[in-house]
Symmetry: C2
Subunit: 305 residues, 2 copies
Amino acid sequence: MSVLVVGSVALDSVETPFGKAEDVLGGSGTFFSASASHFAPVQLVGVVGSDYPVEKLAPLKQRGVDLSGLEQADGESFRWRGRYRHDLNSAETLETRLGVFSHFRPKIPEQFRAAPFVFLANIDPRLQLDVLNQVEKPTLVACDTMNFWIESRRSDLLALLERVDLITLNDGEARQLTEETNLVKAARWIMTRGPRHVIIKKGEHGAFMFTDRSVFFAPAYPLENVFDPTGAGDSFAGGFMGYLARTGRIDDDTMRRAVVYGSAMGSFAVERFSIERLLEIGTAEIRDRLTSFRRLVAFEEDLPD
Amino acid sequence: MSVLVVGSVALDSVETPFGKAEDVLGGSGTFFSASASHFAPVQLVGVVGSDYPVEKLAPLKQRGVDLSGLEQADGESFRWRGRYRHDLNSAETLETRLGVFSHFRPKIPEQFRAAPFVFLANIDPRLQLDVLNQVEKPTLVACDTMNFWIESRRSDLLALLERVDLITLNDGEARQLTEETNLVKAARWIMTRGPRHVIIKKGEHGAFMFTDRSVFFAPAYPLENVFDPTGAGDSFAGGFMGYLARTGRIDDDTMRRAVVYGSAMGSFAVERFSIERLLEIGTAEIRDRLTSFRRLVAFEEDLPD
């Protein structure tokens, strides 16, 4: 089964303690697609400017990412420039130039409208809602968001929540949205507004998936060398949704495995700049990392009398 | 098998968003003992002042904590006063009065010297070393420490590391001690100085146990109501060491289970003030929480082709 993603396709310039990259492939749609393409066919909807090096997206196409929904508009591409200090915990945004992205109105091509799995990456909730008006009864719709929309588009975001099955957001955003410090309470608050599943990402501290009946937790893989954290969350979402699309199932066991696949893909993404590592790995590496994840949390119960 | 702990026995005054407690039982030795006593006989060495309400320790004695190494000295007991803001992440220390603790010289009673499991709670590394000179070939010696000793007693702490099998410390302390931001590297740095096991506690974000051959991670249990975080780390250590003492084994499987028991006991400790909850629970509650931990991280592998 295929997965449709609507998100940004950008050019990133990133500085970390380990090096610099200029105008490399970035954006939520790009990271998501590179990650999800390891599991299922991907349909990408987004916009780039006339200056975008579209030929650099060829490796994505070769991996089964359908780019026929990627519009090229007159004007500049979305550019983000950021820097990470030595602790790599948070990006310092040096410059954001929205370019053609500021007028983005997603048009879902006819042949994408029946996609069973839909991911609304972090864009204006009004556009996320607009996408939902263009697709036909997906099996599962998930969305991401960020502090900017929580503050500036709260009512649209709440309207969106009523129409999605799952939301991914980070711990700070969950607290901001719900005004609950406790993440269990925050997740519950969100679930009462619509989504049956809430995934709270905690960056290097892992991710929780809440449902009304269970909680699942996957750690972030403890890497010795984190090179560039950009795109980890979108790569997580790509692995998660890609795995669901591959199996076609959304039962609890499958969703749990999907979170682990998401964590694995996030852990690969941060090993190089841009989507470099995501394009480099194959099934063997993914399999190995899954096994490492299993070992990381494995313990046998042996209850005291 | 029994577990010997040398640590503080204090009176805590704590303010959280949920209430206040005045002069309640606190201190690393107290939390450790209350926790470990669910698994094995405990031998507590510490000092209290002439004003200490020793009768309040009776429940510990009833639970199998041998208090014959608890000295009562002339003077004031160790008192700590602290406050937690609404996010409960870090304690704000309002007052510390060391009292008789400032002259504490641990004397290990003859009948405690053969203890197979020894925990050196967070005290001056010089005293921790002094304890090691008084005990006979334990199966496993673990120590805790804190930022104050890392700064003021670095060479003693490094000497201590050469003589312990395991250290528990939090992520900030690990980074401070090793000057490594990355926790995998920090753990490796510590292991080259002596301990075969390094447990890095990340508070609400769980705990890692590193060895030269494997990494294990246990999340903190996602509680909906954290009441008072005081003593969580020492309760963790108590569950961990208590479980090892109960089994008498220190193989990797047992150590992993011990980390989960530690996390479980830490999660109970924070549900009430002081050691209240630790004294209240029984085997059934511990068993239930272990099962919840298992569900929290359980996933079945299903590797892609």
